[in-house]
């Protein structure tokens, strides 16, 4: 255990929308400014940044926009949304090793009004796509459905089972003013009436809500945060898992197609680091590009057994009054898809007692992006 404990001292975000009407750099700058101010810091005190490899906002463009004179640490996560929580891991590592004192984490895009991830790839972005797109696997929905189909087949699930997750997510979103689906809850029938994307696996309402927006976090040491009067949330554990045989999107080559092996290893790492078990988690924020990925992660972390997520959700565990509230902001299906970063913001709010859907007495929050994750706690 290092002597310096990293904390999330500030959070900031823009509105989440279908058309931001401004540049991604402006979105990044607005979120960053707000996260720095929320922590009680000034931009001049920031000396590190972390963002996604995929983020199009260059560090130099951002620091001259928000007024950061010197950076001495810059890092980017590998992959896409699976690396969302790895931003916090990298920032915490920098703070705890002394490489930086105050690290700004940012992610901003116009993922609805400009480049939409959900659209078919136009050319193979890298050689891994050679083993998919010529055979018509050219959208994330199709790429993921190829594994979801085996999971459904193995455990006898139908799309209605996945719909029960969406109903819960939309319920949480309906009372979260930041959510794009604020005051718009749905019934299971509404879900079943939405059009097929990949029949009979995914309907439209199983897919995340492609969105425009920016999110930022300010990560520093507990001591510095206290000096600045920040309402800081300690990072009890952070990890990012890559496994031999893994591919960023094509999880086709593991022996068992019905589990999320990165998530299983990630859970073990996180619970060991934090010195707690799955039973100690009060709120779980779980990255969901598509609803079935929540099922696989619930099982991978041991919140329920293999093939049991469907019953776990049906029995009401993840909704209001449940034993494990999941995605209390509405998640990426209900609040918006800011590549998973908005789920970290909600995790911080739960521990500050400031969530729109506050879970009373929340002490440990898991924020999982599947292959990266953090545990925040009081």
């Amino acid at each position: 255990m290092s002597q310096t404990r990293a904390v999330i001292a500030g959070i900031g975000h823009t509105e989440f929308s279908q058309n931001s009407g401004r540049s991604t750099l402006q979105l990044a700058a607005e979120a960053s400014r707000d996260a720095i101010r929320d922590a009680g810091f000034s931009p001049a005190e920031v000396d590190g940044t972390v963002t996604f490899s995929m983020d199009t906002n260059d560090e130099l463009a951002l620091i001259r926009t928000i007024g950061v004179p010197i950076l001495r640490f810059c890092a980017r996560t590998r992959g896409g949304g699976g690396g969302a929580s790895a931003t916090v891991q990298l920032a915490a590592a920098a703070v705890e090793s002394g490489q930086a004192d105050a690290v700004l984490v940012y992610r901003a895009f116009n993922e609805r009004s400009a480049h939409r991830f959900g659209q078919p790839v136009q050319a193979n972005p890298d050689p891994a796509w050679n083993w998919a797109s010529p055979f018509s696997l050219n959208t994330p929905a199709k790429v993921y459905s190829l594994t979801f189909q085996r999971y459904m087949y193995e455990f006898g699930l139908t799309n209605e089972d996945f719909g029960r997750y969406t109903v819960v997510a939309r319920d949480w979103a309906s009372t979260n003013p930041n959510a794009q689906f604020y005051e718009r809850p749905i019934t299971l029938q509404d879900h079943q009436d939405s059009r097929w994307i990949v029949e009979p696996i995914l309907r439209k309402l199983d897919c995340c809500l492609e969105s425009d927006g920016g999110v930022a976090l300010l990560i520093t040491s507990a001591e510095r945060a206290a000096d600045h009067g920040a309402d800081a949330v300690p990072i009890l554990a952070s990890s990012a898992i890559q496994l031999e045989g893994g591919h960023e999107m094509f999880a086709y080559y593991y022996e068992d197609l019905c589990e999320y092996p990165e998530g299983r290893v990630l859970g073990q790492q996180l619970f060991n680091q934090a010195g707690i078990t799955a039973d100690d988690i009060d709120v779980a924020m779980i990255y969901e590009n598509f609803s079935p990925i929540v099922f696989l992660q619930l099982e991978a972390f041991g919140f329920c057994g293999r093939g049991e997520a469907s019953d776990f959700i049906k029995d009401g565990h993840i909704g209001r009054g449940g034993s494990l509230p999941v995605n209390t902001n509405g998640g990426l299906l209900g609040e918006g898809y800011i590549h998973g970063m908005n789920n970290i913001v909600e995790g911080v709010r739960q521990l500050r007692g400031a969530s729109a859907n506050q879970i009373s007495g929340a002490e440990h929050v898991l924020v999982s992006a599947g292959r990266s994750g953090i545990i925040l706690g009081r």
Binding site: V121, N130, F135, S136, S145, R150, Y153, F250
Partner: protein
Amino acid sequence: MTTVRPPIFDFDDAFFWEGATEQKLLIRRCGECDTLRHPPTPMCAICGSTNNQTTQSAGNGIILTWIVSQHPTEPDAEPRIVILVQLDEGTRIVSNLIDVAPTHDQVLNDKRVEVCFVDYDGTVLPQFRLAEVQP
């Protein structure tokens, strides 16, 4: 009319696409320890050798999982069945099942398949048909 997005030939996988044009389903094989690997990589993760050879698959295997792929506006507007095949040699490959109606209300998991080759406007892809004898 099915149109396909062609692969981009890469140092490490050109042999596979060239093999397909000769009606061969090739799998990367380590020239030292004979370990098979797909998707191909330029070094054997077991023994560290870069003596990269190939072996011709007999093209028989089973469908582990499958979907019907269709997009309203893209090249795959024509529905295709996408399958993940476990080849008898041990490696897996994503491909398509042809000569079967592309409907979702059937059970294709664990069906035995055999390879064939189809030229889609100059791009030759290994494809699969249901084997005559099913277990």
